[in-house]
């Protein structure tokens, strides 16, 4: 099996653009090799409770995660998305922080400092297991691209107001990734999460987990 890291690693980047004859090749290796599944960069991030962590090794590795992009001042899709995630948090109950982790990454890392995010998280009633994350703009941008939260049209991609409505869901243990629309209700979202949780037999929430 392979990843796009392997693919990129398979050719020297300098030769990549020429080999493809395409206009613009990445200017640096965005991805480095490991096993099957997408590479999530191990960039430093700061949590709303002030911890400095590395995104992959501390937050993703061997976990089932759901990740969205947001910013505190967003008056567009974020309020509805965050409301859905609050409801998802309720549905997850004790699974949150144990089997499933939620990460909300700021699209305005310079404005959304840990203090700002802490206040926001408190307003949302975020429990342990739901982290709001910030970092350097460059690292956040790198994360955003690595998670597929971009539009190939640069004009569209550059627009904060129409930022991604995907909730990226990944299980690092199975190296499997998918997404759910973050504007769908929590019952719809948790079905995809449960599908990707190897411990779950039922995927619909109302049926609840079966004994393992």
């Amino acid at each position: 099996m392979n990843t796009r890291r392997l693919v990129i690693a398979g050719l020297g980047l300098a030769t990549l653009g020429a080999a493809l004859g395409y206009g613009s090749a990445p200017r640096r290796p965005a991805y480095a090799p490991t096993g099957p599944g997408p590479h999530i960069p191990d960039v430093p991030v700061v949590t709303h409770d002030g911890r400095k962590l590395y995104f992959y090794r501390d937050l993703v590795q061997n976990r089932l995660v759901a990740i969205n992009m947001m910013y505190v001042q967003c008056e567009g899709s974020c309020p509805a998305t965050i409301a859905n995630l609050r409801r998802l948090q309720a549905l997850l109950g004790p699974r949150l922080g144990r089997d499933v982790f939620l990460y909300s990454i700021s699209l305005q890392p310079e404005l959304d400092t840990p203090d700002v995010l802490a206040a926001y998280a408190a307003r949302q009633g975020a429990r342990p297991g739901w982290l709001f994350l910030t970092g350097t703009p460059a690292d956040i941008r790198r994360l955003r691209y690595s998670l597929g939260f971009y539009d190939p049209d640069r004009a569209v991609d550059g627009q904060l107001t129409s930022h991604t409505g995907m909730l990226r869901i990944g299980n690092d243990r199975t190296r499997r990734w998918a997404m759910a629309p973050s504007l769908c209700n929590a019952e719809r979202i948790i079905a995809t999460l449960n599908h990707m949780d190897t411990a779950m037999v039922a995927t619909a929430h109302h049926q609840g987990p079966l004994p393992t």
């Binding site: 395409y22 613009s24 971009y150 409505g165």
Partner: protein, 619 residues
């Protein structure tokens, strides 16, 4: 009705769809505070990320690997335990509703397919043998496409589909299945609804329990069973070239990409599958083993020659190698006689325009007999091209007797895409890319008695009064917040976007309000008739090959297609979706339910109400 939560509305708070967003874009330079740029916020101009650009697949060895000279149809088996009307949970059957019309359509034959991994598939001799997913039948090798099922109208069957995919699988593809028989006139519980996925250890949100298998009941009746009361339905609704494929929610693209598809061919007394058929009703089209289905799938391979897929890429991956029945640049040896070739675009994202050319690249002529698997009223002779969006089919008859033994012909694809662009094709360019070589290597063992008559299958006449009286429902296919939406909603298996009445007729207006992408739209259950096509409000002629019955409607830029659909004989939940598998897995699917006709009008999204303008169209 259960409505436990609000629908998935992407434009919930602001109504800031791409359309209004694009208007915003125009003002951004003048008023940067209106929509601050992520790039500027990123402050990383020296080191910008780009969408990933993948290296091309490594070189392949052309025209070495051979396709079998004839297909091997799946043989019936005796199922133990025997199929039952209700799901046989004790025996390991996954949850489903009871089979509809079981007593009327008792199966006369049973088949079994096992979804499994083949650990050592050879796409091409230049690539390492590697795992793919496919189907095993009759104890044979696990193959992709899976074994071909030959079915007949008037002979209901059960196909028991076992799921023995590796539960501990890592990487792209999810080892649960929900198998859709593309465009079969099938009861909902056998239709492969996306939320009905199952494995021994997991089950989808719309079924009640896990199981290792599911029995799919295919009645093999024509649509119109109730309407005609003749015990078989309306033969003008006959389907011919169908295919089964996985439809698991969120994972349809990777699961089909890994190989979960196969053909299902339906015959009757007209298209009887026997070119020697003495019956006066029989067309005597070229028949097995000279009736050959070909599935084309775009694939991308890593530098080490293994199949590559980027799970987090919101655009998917555009394949630069075309697998033909799972082999890249294969040879098909043919006899010097007529063949029926059934071409299928199996996706995930590439559009094709195929030409049959000789070794000097000159296009050869053939006869186009069926689109989307449905025989046209009359053959289109002297054709040179077959254009196929994802999931479209084109049946052609090629007469190889016109060529001396030893002649080499190639099927080439002349339709291009921009690099990495999975959204739409670009243009038609010669000479095209060779994807399959035909080698005329022998005389047939007997004289070719097959024919292509001047009349194939009658169409039910369109009734203007019926069309005028039918409810008009608009389905708008649009992009929103990095996802794909229908009527400003994303797919939710519990959200009923439309309720239609059993036995009802509706005109569905499929609308692409934007440019920049095409959507091949597939409605499950019954094929439809295109009533009109318009682009930016201007009528466009319906191409001759699209004037029959279709189940995939390729919506181009700024295009509106009106389609007449009937909803007969069964009840339950079905879907309408884009068959660009990336769009499908990113929200562009709607659930619609057929409900008993209680005299109530149909309901749900997109309905045009009298006195109000039709939603969304630019007409």
């Amino acid at each position: 009705m259960k409505h436990r939560h609000p629908p998935c509305l992407p434009a919930l708070a602001q109504g800031d769809s791409r359309r209004s967003f694009l208007k915003l874009t125009a003002t951004v330079a003048a008023a940067p505070l209106v929509g601050r740029s992520l790039g500027a916020l990123g402050k990383d101009d020296e080191d910008e990320e780009d969408p990933p650009v993948f290296p091309p697949s490594p070189p392949t060895q052309a025209w070495v690997i051979e396709l079998p000279t004839e297909i091997t149809p799946l043989q019936p088996v005796t199922l133990d335990p025997a199929p039952t009307e209700a799901a046989n949970r004790d025996a390991g059957e996954a949850g489903r509703a009871d089979h509809q019309r079981w007593g009327e359509l008792l199966p006369v034959l049973s088949y079994e397919l096992i979804a499994r991994e083949n650990p050592a598939w050879e796409f091409n001799p230049a690539y390492p043998a590697q795992p793919v997913w496919g189907y095993q039948g009759n104890g044979g090798e696990v193959v992709s496409p899976g074994p071909v099922i030959f079915a007949r109208y008037g002979q209901p069957i059960v196909v028991r589909i076992r799921n023995q995919l590796p539960a501990d699988h890592q990487g792209f593809g999810s080892p649960e299945i929900s198998t859709h028989l593309h465009n079969a006139h099938t009861a909902s519980e056998s239709d492969g609804f996306p939320g009905d996925f199952y494995s021994a250890g997991k089950f989808g949100p719309t079924i009640s329990h896990a199981g290792e298998f599911r029995d799919h009941h295919y009645g093999n009746i024509y649509a119109g069973f109730d309407e005609l009361q003749n015990g078989i339905g309306d033969p003008r609704e006959a389907l011919g070239t169908l295919f089964y494929h996985d439809h698991t929610m969120d994972f349809t693209a990777p699961n089909i990409y890994k190989g979960l598809l196969g053909f299902y061919l339906l015959f009757d007394d007209v298209d009887s599958g026997d070119e020697h058929d003495p019956s006066p009703s029989a067309l005597r089209l070229p028949s097995h083993p000279y009736d050959y289905p070909l599935a084309f799938g775009d694939k991308r391979f890593a530098p080490d020659g293994t199949l590559f897929w980027d799970q987090v890429n919101p655009e998917g991956v555009l394949g630069d190698k075309i697998a033909v029945n799972g082999r890249i640049e294969p040879v098909l040896r043919v006899a010097a006689r007529k063949y029926r070739l059934r071409l299928l675009n199996a996706g995930p994202s590439r559009f094709y325009e195929f030409y049959l050319v000789n070794s000097r690249g000159r296009a050869q002529r053939f006869t186009y007999i069926a689109n989307d698997g449905n025989l046209l009223p009359a053959p289109l002779r002297d054709q040179t091209r077959v254009r196929l969006g994802m999931a479209e089919r084109g049946d052609i008859v090629v007469d190889f007797s016109a060529y001396p033994i030893g002649t080499e012909l190639y099927l080439v694809n002349r339709l291009t895409h921009r690099p990495e662009d999975t959204r739409q094709p670009k243009d038609v360019r010669r000479p095209g890319v060779r994807v399959l070589k035909f080698l005329v290597d022998r005389m047939p063992p007997e004289a070719d008695v097959s024919q292509v008559p001047d009349l194939l299958r009658e169409l039910r006449p369109l009734d203007p009064a019926e069309i005028a009286a039918a409810p008009l429902r608009s389905w708008i296919f649009d992009r929103d917040k990095g996802l794909w939406a229908i009527n400003e909603r994303y797919f939710d298996p519990d959200q009923v976007d439309a309720r239609v009445r059993q036995g009802g007729v509706e005109v569905w207006e499929l609308v692409n309000p934007e440019d920049g992408w095409d959507h091949p739209i597939h409605a499950h259950f019954e094929e439809g008739r295109i009533l009109s096509i318009s682009v930016l409000g201007r009528a466009v002629a319906i191409p001759p090959h699209e004037r029959g019955r279709k189940d995939v409607f390729v919506l181009g830029e700024d295009m509106t297609i009106r389609v007449l659909l009937r909803f007969r004989d069964f009840l339950g939940k079905y879907v309408l979706h884009c068959h660009n598998l990336i769009h499908e897995d990113h929200g562009m699917m709607a659930r619609w339910d057929i409900e008993p006709d209680t005299g109530q009008p149909p309901s749900g999204t997109g309905l045009a109400h009298s006195g109000s303008p039709t939603r969304g169209g630019r007409t």
